[in-house]
């Protein structure tokens, strides 16, 4: 007790500093964590989250009996896997090529411009996509396909094109960001290694394979593991706003996040929506913790805990 008082006397201002952040985290993050019990209740607005009657796992049973459950999980996982693989390969390739360019000003310009798409919101992206894809006056239908003598395509009603479109948009928006992550690592590689390689008569290709890529290895592994930890989450804006909530596209644009939103706001199916949300939180938690354990095993400085 005496020790406690002594500690407080010396450190109370530092503890005081934690308060605003701690209160925010409590409200914004911790109260909703207790609120996940809603998925195990038969929600009605009058009794609220904590008063509605319990219903066991029936919300989950209903959810997994629908075809939606399979579709949204499949879409979330497959899109994320393609984003991770393609995104990493392209970002690493571009970072290596950027590093090999000698003109410093050009290097700076490329880096600056390629990051621009990362800075804009998904709402703006959806307007940009619409300028290309609009069936009446979009650039692709009106200028490209017409010039090629092809029939216009009704993009927002044709699901088969959307896996491709969404991958392109995701890469377009994220390439600059991912490239900088790898480029920063390349810049940190010990320059004497390159000098030694040149003295030994290594070609450019050999330098890339034996100095640059090994130098990038740990960053690639760590970022990929972290991304795998988030494989159950999706960018709501990309899958809801960019396809403009178009009904015919749902089979290829529904992810867990869009399902939860639609259940809550549009179809008013709070039971199944919250069950999907809890499913995402729990599996997501297991994945993030495993990813961090794997990262820690690999490089303890880079893991969260």
């Amino acid at each position: 007790m005496k020790k406690f008082r002594k500690t407080m006397k010396r450190f109370w201002p530092l503890y005081l500093m934690f308060i605003p952040g701690a209160v925010f985290l409590f409200i914004n993050s911790y109260i909703p964590m207790f609120g996940i019990q809603i998925a195990f209740r038969q929600y009605n607005a009058r009794d609220g989250i904590y008063g509605s009657p319990w219903c066991g796992l029936s919300n989950f049973e209903f959810l997994f009996r629908t075809k939606d459950a399979f579709v949204m999980v499949r879409n979330t996982l497959l899109y994320n896997m393609v984003f991770i693989v393609l995104g990493t390969v392209l970002a690493v390739a571009v970072a290596i090529i950027l590093n090999e360019i000698r003109n410093k000003k050009a290097k700076q310009l490329y880096q600056t411009v390629i990051l621009i798409p990362f800075l804009i919101s998904m709402v703006i992206v959806s307007y940009l996509a619409f300028a290309f894809l609009s069936s009446n006056n979009g650039y692709i239908n009106n200028s490209l396909l017409k010039a090629l003598g092809r029939e216009p395509i009704d993009w927002y009603n044709s699901p088969k094109y959307w896996p491709f479109i969404l991958v392109v948009i995701n890469i377009w928006k994220g390439l600059g960001y991912n490239m900088i992550l790898y480029y920063a690592t390349i810049c940190g590689i010990d320059g004497t290694l390159y000098e030694a390689a040149v003295v030994d008569g290594a070609t450019r290709w050999q330098r890339i394979c034996h100095v640059t890529l090994p130098g990038l290895k740990s960053t690639i592994i760590i970022l990929t593991l972290m991304a795998l930890g988030g494989i159950f989450r999706s960018d709501f804006g990309l899958f809801y706003q960019v396809p403009q909530n178009s009904g015919p596209l749902i089979s290829v644009t529904q992810t867990i996040d869009t399902y939860v939103y639609r259940g809550l706001m549009q179809t008013n199916n709070i039971g199944m929506s919250s069950a999907a949300g809890v499913y995402q939180s729990v599996v997501g938690f297991i994945l993030v913790v495993s990813a961090n354990l794997a990262v820690r095993k690999f490089d303890s400085d880079s893991s969260l805990f």
Partner: protein, 294 residues
């Protein structure tokens, strides 16, 4: 060898130049169509080289559309207040975490980390904000949920403090009789300006670009920020299109025309495009720090 080197340089420039064009092309199409005559836009579609230019869309936005100026005002206010509050809360949480001699700091660190690992999800959050705190259609809806503090930024700042503020400096100030708040604001913060600049930019960008809080918690058009306004225009168009497909009568008269929508989109990205070239260094630094220490 020299010849071979030059060949690679040319290849590199062609490749990076292509990527540069790909990154910029959509923005050029956007700006061009916002400057295209409305009738030309309807007959010829969006084009990089419009047949007929017009500044009608911008005249319209400046003169007639009060909602755009209002949306701009709300975006500016929310971004400014939000960034200042966020930075204050982030700094206040990060600084004590960086003080190694503070008993129990690991508990506060875990309390922070855990929010990055597990979340209650949208449904409980939505019900809490709307039914317990009644933030629907208030300025707080755009300021507080998910945006007021990011655990990621706190960790970034704590790491910077740990690496760049020597314990001896803090100890010396304490011996001189400065209290902890004075040490933080007079001594530590002036030494941490680069990280403050970086985090302010990332936070400011998050506030300016946010439309999700608007989607969840705002349906009164008096409270629309510019992004929320854009999102709602698109949503109205989606609904009209669905009605049209079901053979209903569609009235598009109340909605802004194509070129006006494009001009509005330009307005939505303009502040970012103006600030970005000057602050590019800090953005890149912020991203690179985030990679090294997630």
């Amino acid at each position: 060898m020299v010849e071979k080197g030059r060949g690679f340089q040319i290849f590199g420039h062609i490749l990076m130049g292509t990527l540069l064009i790909c990154a910029l092309a959509p923005f050029i199409l956007l700006i061009m169509s916002s400057l295209t005559d409305e009738q030309t836009l309807i007959t010829n579609g969006y084009s990089f080289f419009p047949a007929k230019f017009s500044t009608y869309a911008y005249d319209y936005l400046l003169r007639k559309s009060g909602s755009v100026l209002r949306g701009y005002g709300i975006s500016v206010v929310v971004t400014t207040i939000g960034t200042v509050c966020n930075l204050l809360i982030t700094t206040l949480y990060a600084y004590p975490l960086s003080r190694k001699e503070l008993p129990g700091r690991n508990i506060f660190a875990f309390y922070l980390f855990f929010t990055m690992l597990f979340s209650g999800g949208l449904v409980p959050s939505y019900l809490m904000w709307t039914q317990t705190f009644h933030i629907r259609n208030t300025i707080f809806a755009l300021l507080i949920p998910n945006l007021l503090m990011s655990a990621f930024n706190v960790i970034m700042m704590r790491t910077y403090f740990t690496a760049n503020i020597p314990d001896a400096v803090v100890e010396a100030a304490r011996v001189d009789g400065a209290n902890e708040f004075k040490i933080l604001f007079r001594i530590v913060l002036p030494m941490a300006l680069p990280i403050i600049a970086t985090i302010s930019l990332l936070v400011g960008l998050a506030y300016w670009n946010d439309w999700m809080n608007g989607l969840y918690y705002v349906n009164d058009d008096k409270m629309f920020s510019i992004q929320v306004l854009l999102m709602n225009i698109q949503r109205d168009l989606d609904q009209l299109r669905q009605q049209a497909q079901q053979g209903g009568n569609v009235n598009t008269a109340d909605l802004p025309s194509t070129s006006v929508r494009m001009a509005l989109t330009v307005m939505g990205v303009l502040p970012i495009m103006i600030i970005y070239p000057f602050m590019q260094k800090y953005f890149v630094k912020g991203i690179a720090i985030g990679a090294v220490k997630g």
